[in-house]
């Protein structure tokens, strides 16, 4: 078995009385795509926020490449090689696509000077298919392109682990297909990926393993097949009418 790149150890995150993540542990191995699924409100994004330092865990710790990163501010976490995207996109609106991606390259683990960062950014923009839009203001992009910009910015940091938070949500089928190509290409570069996704077919086909969260707790873990056939997981999803509806819609489509 390959060595672990990320270990989440007994992480709990509470907001006042509300426990968003409860005693979750998971391990991601190098080079692997690990899927993180669960009904709405299961604590997936909160767990991401704990991993990349937006939140400090109430208890437990996060280990990245053998070093503890929980408690570090987000800019230190990304400098160690762990980048992420946001579920609700956060483009730097009044800056061009190139400038947006340059920020990612400049302040990432390599800490590049401006001009070198611009070169890296230009490459990443081509790689993610944003080449045509390099000089467009980020605020003017449509949602699909903004999602791709999120990925490009994170990728420009040249991370060793990439956290993708619902990069497929809100995209039409052809946009989803393009994004899946991008994700596979990233994996082929040797970058480990931890991704949250609601589109079941996509995550089932992409992931090497899947972790299921429900009400802040880890419900199941295993290969896509194992997870899909786990009665607890099925119950958790069917218990969520919105998710059940979504799965039905996907099957129709």
């Amino acid at each position: 078995m390959k060595p672990a790149i990320l270990e989440v150890r007994n992480v709990t995150k509470a907001f006042g009385g509300l426990i968003a993540v409860k005693d979750v542990s998971l391990t991601q191995y190098q080079g692997e795509i690990l899927g993180l699924i669960g009904p709405n409100g299961a604590g997936k994004t909160t767990l991401f926020n704990v991993i990349n330092g937006v939140y400090k865990p109430t208890s437990g710790e996060v280990i990245f490449e053998g070093q503890k990163i929980s408690g570090l501010p987000p800019y230190e976490v990304v400098r160690r090689g762990l980048a992420r995207t946001h579920q609700i996109v956060k483009p730097l609106n009044e800056m061009t696509v190139l400038e947006n991606v340059t920020v990612g390259a400049c302040f990432g683990p390599q800490n590049l000077p401006l001009e070198a960062a611009q070169e890296v950014a230009a490459e990443v923009i081509e790689f993610t298919g944003l080449g045509k839009y390099a000089d467009v203001l980020a605020g003017k992009l449509n949602i699909a392109l903004k999602k791709r910009l999120e990925v490009a910015r994170a990728l420009a940091a040249k991370p060793r682990l990439l956290l993708l938070d619902e990069v497929l949500a809100g995209l039409n089928p052809s946009e989803v297909a393009k994004m899946l190509d991008v994700i596979r290409a990233i994996r082929d570069q040797g970058i480990s990926i931890l991704m949250i996704e609601h589109i079941m077919q996509a995550i089932m086909s992409l992931s090497d393993r899947i972790v299921v969260l429900n009400f802040g707790e880890k419900l199941a873990e295993g290969s896509p097949d194992e997870v899909a056939n786990d009665p607890q997981v099925i119950e958790a999803y069917l218990g969520d009418p919105e998710m059940a509806k979504r799965i039905l819609e996907e099957e129709e489509a």
Partner: protein, 322 residues
């Protein structure tokens, strides 16, 4: 030095030279006194733009740097017989360092909280200085006439100080350009657009903001030292005149916040406008009202200011004037 290849670099050098040479060659003291006011406005606006336009933090009390620079300089020159050059440099560095320490605290506040804190800082410093006997309390500091002797008499000293103020003006503009084109500037712009996103992308926002705040204090403090040395006195009401720092915001917004040339153009236009209004009887009492109306109109209808508007209708201009 890529900066030397930028057309704007040479434009700045040219404008600075014109400011310096025009009154000097014509030996026109009235013109000099008009231009000195423009130059001071440009210095205040350009440095304020580093916070408002580049970093996205509204500093209502930026004048506190100018005032403290003036006080420190006059105190060093008057009470300790320092030369002007060393006094303004020490004033600039000290005020900048003070801003850094202050920034560590108040830049943890965002948006309106920060803006209010900056008003508070200016008012608190004004109250403090008014009660501070070492600096003459509410009477302020007066320079003895002998202070100008070392510089070859008052007449010659005033010319020298004028040229120094113009030099500070040119430096302010070059600083704006250099920051705009640097990695540091890119980090600031990211903070302006979305601080949370910037932090996740690796920008050390707490440090960057504090550095920007401290940097925006340096040249105004030197300018304050030169300006009040030229006047021969400094009093709290004039040194920490909140209205002037608010007018500086109007200048930045008028010209175009976040652009390199905007604040300069805004400062120049505002100074002309103000001069015009002061000569029209009946309107001179209303100049803050007109500044307020102007600010409101810009915010409502042209939030990018004059340069923002020009860049929108003529995008190529942005490459030249930045």
């Amino acid at each position: 030095m890529k900066l030397l290849k930028a057309p704007l670099f040479w434009l700045i050098v040219g404008v600075t030279a014109i400011f310096a040479l025009l009154p000097l060659l014509s030996n026109n003291i009235t013109l000099r006194e008009t231009l000195v006011l423009s130059a001071i406005y440009i210095i205040l606006a350009a440095n304020l733009n580093l916070m408002i336009g580049y970093t996205g933090y509204v500093n209502f009390g930026s004048i506190v740097f100018f005032g403290l620079g003036g006080y420190l300089t006059l105190w060093l020159v008057g009470s300790h017989h320092w030369g002007l050059y060393s006094a303004v440099l020490v004033a600039g560095v000290s005020v900048s360092a003070l801003a850094f320490l202050l920034g560590i605290g108040i830049l943890r506040l965002r948006g309106a909280y920060f803006a209010l804190a900056t008003i508070g800082v200016n008012e608190a410093v004004k109250d403090f200085v008014s009660n501070f006997d070492v600096w003459g309390g509410s009477e302020g500091i007066f320079l003895p006439f002998t202070a100008y002797k070392a510089m070859g008499g008052a007449g010659k000293a005033l010319w020298t100080v004028y040229l120094l103020i113009v030099l500070v003006m040119g430096s302010s503009l070059l600083l704006s350009l250099a920051v705009r084109r640097s990695k540091f500037g890119l980090g600031l712009f990211a903070i302006r657009e979305d601080e949370d996103a910037a932090v996740v992308l690796g920008v050390k926002a707490p440090l960057y903001k504090t550095l920007a705040y401290s940097l925006s204090a340096f040249l105004p403090a030197i300018a304050g030292g030169l300006y009040f040395f030229k006047n021969g006195s400094v009093v709290p009401e004039e040194a920490f005149n909140l209205n002037l720092s608010i007018e500086a915001i109007v200048m930045v917004m008028l010209g175009g916040q976040g652009t390199v040339t905007g604040p300069t153009i805004g400062a120049f236009l505002y100074e002309r406008l103000r001069g015009m209004l002061l000569t029209i009887p009946g309107l001179s009492n209303f100049h803050m009202v007109i500044a307020g109306v102007l600010l409101l109109l810009i915010i409502l209808f042209a939030p990018g200011g004059l340069m923002g508007w020009l860049y929108r209708i003529w995008p190529r201009l942005r490459r030249v004037l930045e």
